[in-house]
């Protein structure tokens, strides 16, 4: 792997300044994992900052507690500084490197790629469904959406996209891990890994110290954590729906669209993909909408406004994916099926293609930082004592 381009040196300088101040104060160490991790260091180089920035969940409790926050002379804005560094790391670790440019105008990039995805799906449909009319309706018995785009074509299309996506995300993760391994000691134990997974699944550090974090405004609230849970678990359930459907198709030979519960004979097992997708889909409607709503109310002093497009782009894409998924399920036996297939699969393809170059990567690096943190907690002492 070639040497990565450093994040802008002004960000490193500001990050170092901020950490020097915080490490001499330490009042905030009870809020999250970032401050104790900082206290395991006495100097702060770029790799330390890149790690700490990705460990930060941006709960912003520390800003309100900070005696050095603007307009105080030191003008310390911990959450914003770390957000800016975080954004720079997304570009630094992006693979392949040239695509890092997509982070610059990420909202626009997400929109354009999603639009192109619609065209790609339409093109694939047109080239593969030669004998079928795209304006007709097909019953479930005739395959419904599989009539206009075969299961095989879908698997081939999204299998390829998923493989590319996986490689890009894995390469990014590897870059993050290698870049920030400077001061880490010891290897990843099972307990450390389990702790990090637990931290992710519970969103432990969006809890503040307890009772939620200072988001969107000063006083503790669990709103963001709950909306994020809806988004996260919604995403997982939708992924599970697809996975279960694939298993049904290939291992059990249950071909054709899974039955919608309540329509025709009830078969909960065979309807599982629909059930999982619907429950997850509800999460993906409410969660991202809630996060967008909170974002509109948040304290703008703490936000890196340059990231608004990226944040909103991903959230809107999730909402559209879920929405089109529900529409496709509901109207799959009507003449709108082709349009809805293009809409839904286009949005899914949009997500797949933009995942390594958009907001999604925060989860990848956050997880890596939490693993590193769990290892450090077991191997590195707090430095400096009175």
């Amino acid at each position: 792997m070639s040497t990565l381009k450093s994040i802008p040196h002004e960000l490193v300088a500001e990050g170092e300044r901020v950490m020097r101040i915080c490490n001499a104060c330490r009042y905030c160490e009870g809020f999250c994992a970032v401050f104790p991790a900082m206290e395991r260091r006495l100097t702060f180089k770029e790799d330390d900052l890149n790690y700490l920035a990705n460990l930060c969940h941006n709960c912003t409790e520390c800003y309100y507690a900070c005696q050095y926050a603007p307009p105080q002379e030191f003008e310390l804005n911990f959450p914003k500084t770390l957000a800016e560094i975080r954004m720079a790391t997304y570009q630094k670790y992006a693979w392949p490197g040239p695509l890092a440019g997509l982070f610059k105008n990420n909202g626009l990039a997400t929109a354009v790629i999603s639009a192109l995805s619609l065209v790609i799906i339409l093109a694939i449909m047109l080239t593969s469904a030669t004998s079928k009319s795209l304006l007709s309706a097909y019953s479930d018995a005739e395959g419904a959406f599989y009539a206009v785009m075969s299961h095989h074509t879908m698997v081939l299309t999204f299998g390829t996209a998923a493989a590319l996506l996986f490689v890009a995300l894995a390469a990014g993760y590897a870059r993050f891990w290698k870049d920030t391994s400077g001061k880490a000691e010891g290897s990843v134990s099972f307990t450390a890994l389990a702790q990090a997974v637990g931290d992710v699944l519970r969103l432990r550090y969006l809890d503040g110290a307890e009772g939620g974090c200072a988001y969107p405004e000063e006083f503790q609230s669990n709103a963001r954590r709950r909306f994020h849970h809806l988004t996260f678990y919604g995403f997982i359930l939708c992924f599970a729906a697809t996975a279960v459907g694939t298993v049904f198709h290939y291992l059990l030979g249950w071909e054709g669209p899974p039955p919608i519960p309540g329509v025709g004979k009830l078969n909960l097992v065979r309807s599982l993909p629909v059930i999982l997708g619907s429950v997850g889909g509800i999460g993906l409607l409410i969660g991202p909408a809630g996060l967008l709503w909170l974002k509109s109310k948040r304290n703008t002093l703490l936000a890196d406004q340059k990231q608004n497009g990226m944040d909103a782009g991903f959230l809107i894409l999730l909402i559209l994916t879920s929405l089109t998924g529900f529409l496709l399920t509901a109207f799959r036996e009507t003449g709108a099926v082709s349009t809805l297939v293009v809409a839904h699969l286009g949005m899914v393809m949009g997500i797949f293609l933009t995942m390594p170059y958009g907001k999604f990567v925060h989860g990848i690096y956050r997880f890596g930082a939490l693993v590193k943190n769990a290892v450090e907690q077991r191997t590195m002492p707090t430095l400096g004592s009175e």
Partner: protein, 464 residues
């Protein structure tokens, strides 16, 4: 704020003591107005920079370990003040410190175990999660929810007092002057430490070299007005909480990060490159509060804490990077000190160091022999370059000159009679208890205890 009304209780000041008083008075049914001189972003006075309060407890209690009895607490206070305290008031503060945490939690304060690097305080001091500004935020929030009226940027310029009875206050806000009436006054506006002119009256020109660690808004205007109105004061105007802090700190408001915690690990020299006090007299947490006065007593009020590479990384990292050099003459040059003299001072010190087993966690047996001043503990030769230096100045936290109060927090007049409707809390009256010296976290204890007493007594007076 309704300027035409007569408030039950007017509180001048907006820090911990003021808010404890405001919340208590409001909970007792009074209408309360808080006039905070600072803008909202800087509200809370010195409380903004605090991090814990010292609590008595007979056994492990939530974030506190072991026990810290009334007797030990009182003896600690007696030791640091050299007896210059008021036992009745001090014991009230000590006793109530055992109970006030519950009240604090009810009003939004959150606690946490003692901070990394401060384990020695885990027994005696309860740390606020997020520090003092988080506490101040919680109290303001509670006060607002209870219906306390709060005005920022409102500096009181005049107190109208007749025959020991307060009637109204004149204050300036957004360029306009207003007068507000109230049935009782609680003064909780801090010391006068950020009033350099006043400091100079007490200290002479030396005060020009003092750095004010906390809020720039504690100019002592309320204290001065009370003094001019015949209130009895207590304490010596030169007495204050003063620590040696990094000379590169901003003039005001640098807070905790400007401290330098390596004094006991090396030597401290003055501008003539000579040592002037036993750097290893006792544990640093017991000695840090005397070094402000020590440096204040040196020429040009400056000192230099010098260590070698053996000590680097074994103390709380100061915010500003050390001045670093590969040799002592080079270090002297960078500090503007006489190189020959510095080398001589270090050589004499090194030669006086007796062999011992270094252990910074106990009063170890590493001491010097045959030099003055001696270094009693943790004396190790300065011989492993690079050498590091931190310049030191006196950093004033708060002054002790204050108003005289009784157990009801009533302000006393010069004729030794209590004022009818005037009470005081916090740094403005802490001199009654702290004649000199300091115990970490005791200022917040006094503020919390006497803030609540003042709030209660003022409401009893109003409701009578």
């Amino acid at each position: 704020m309704d300027l035409s009304r007569v408030y039950d209780v007017l509180i001048v000041g907006g820090g911990n003591a003021a808010l404890c008083a405001a919340i208590t008075a409001r909970r007792n049914g009074c209408s309360v107005l808080v006039l905070e001189g600072a803008p909202k972003e800087f509200r809370g006075g010195n409380s903004r920079h605090t991090r814990n309060l010292r609590c008595m407890h007979d056994g492990p209690a939530d974030v506190l370990t072991d026990a810290y009895t009334e007797r030990e607490y009182w003896e600690d206070l007696l030791k640091v003040t050299g007896g210059q305290t008021n036992e009745k008031l001090a014991r009230m503060a000590i006793r109530d410190s055992a109970h006030c945490r519950k009240w604090m939690v009810q009003h939004g304060v959150r606690f946490q175990p003692s901070l990394g690097g401060t384990l020695h305080l885990s027994r005696t001091n309860a740390f606020f999660l997020g520090g003092g500004k988080a506490l101040v935020n919680a109290y303001y929030r509670s006060a607002e929810l209870l219906g306390v009226d709060i005005e920022y940027n409102s500096e009181v310029r005049e107190l109208k007092i007749q025959d020991g009875k307060f009637t109204s206050a004149v204050f300036v806000r957004k360029g306009f002057t207003h007068e507000i009436r109230a049935k009782a006054l609680i003064a909780a506006a801090g010391g006068f430490q950020s009033n350099v002119a006043w400091l100079k009256q007490a200290w002479g020109d030396a005060a020009d070299n003092f750095i004010i660690r906390g809020t720039p808004y504690d100019k002592g205007t309320v204290l001065k007005m009370l003094m001019e109105q015949g209130v009895k004061t207590i304490g010596d105007p030169t007495q204050c909480h003063a620590v040696a802090i990094d000379a590169r700190a901003p003039k005001f408001d640098g807070g905790i990060i400007t401290r330098v915690d390596c004094v006991s690990l090396g030597i401290v020299v003055n501008r003539y490159a000579k040592r002037f006090y036993d750097e290893g007299e006792d544990f640093w947490p017991k000695r840090y509060a005397i070094w402000g006065r020590l440096v204040a007593g040196q020429p040009d009020q400056i000192g230099y804490s010098i260590i070698d590479s053996k000590s680097m990384g074994t103390f709380m990292p100061p915010v500003f990077p050390p001045i670093e050099a590969e040799s002592l003459p080079e270090l002297a040059k960078k500090l503007g000190l006489d190189a020959e003299q510095l080398v001589q001072t270090v050589t004499e010190y090194n030669d006086a160091v007796r062999p011992g087993t270094f252990d910074h966690t106990v009063l170890d047996n590493c001491a010097t022999e045959g030099i003055t001043p001696q270094k009693s503990h943790w004396a190790r030769r300065l011989d492993k370059p690079p050498f590091y230096a931190y310049p030191l100045r006196p950093g004033i936290t708060f002054t002790y000159l204050g108003v005289s109060v009784d157990e009801q927090a009533r302000i006393y007049m010069q004729d030794d009679k209590p004022a009818k409707n005037m009470f005081a809390a916090g740094e403005l009256m802490a001199g009654s208890i702290l004649g000199k010296g300091y115990l970490a976290g005791f200022g917040m204890t006094i503020g919390t205890v006497f803030g609540r007493i003042a709030g209660k007594e003022a409401s009893l007076y109003v409701n009578a």
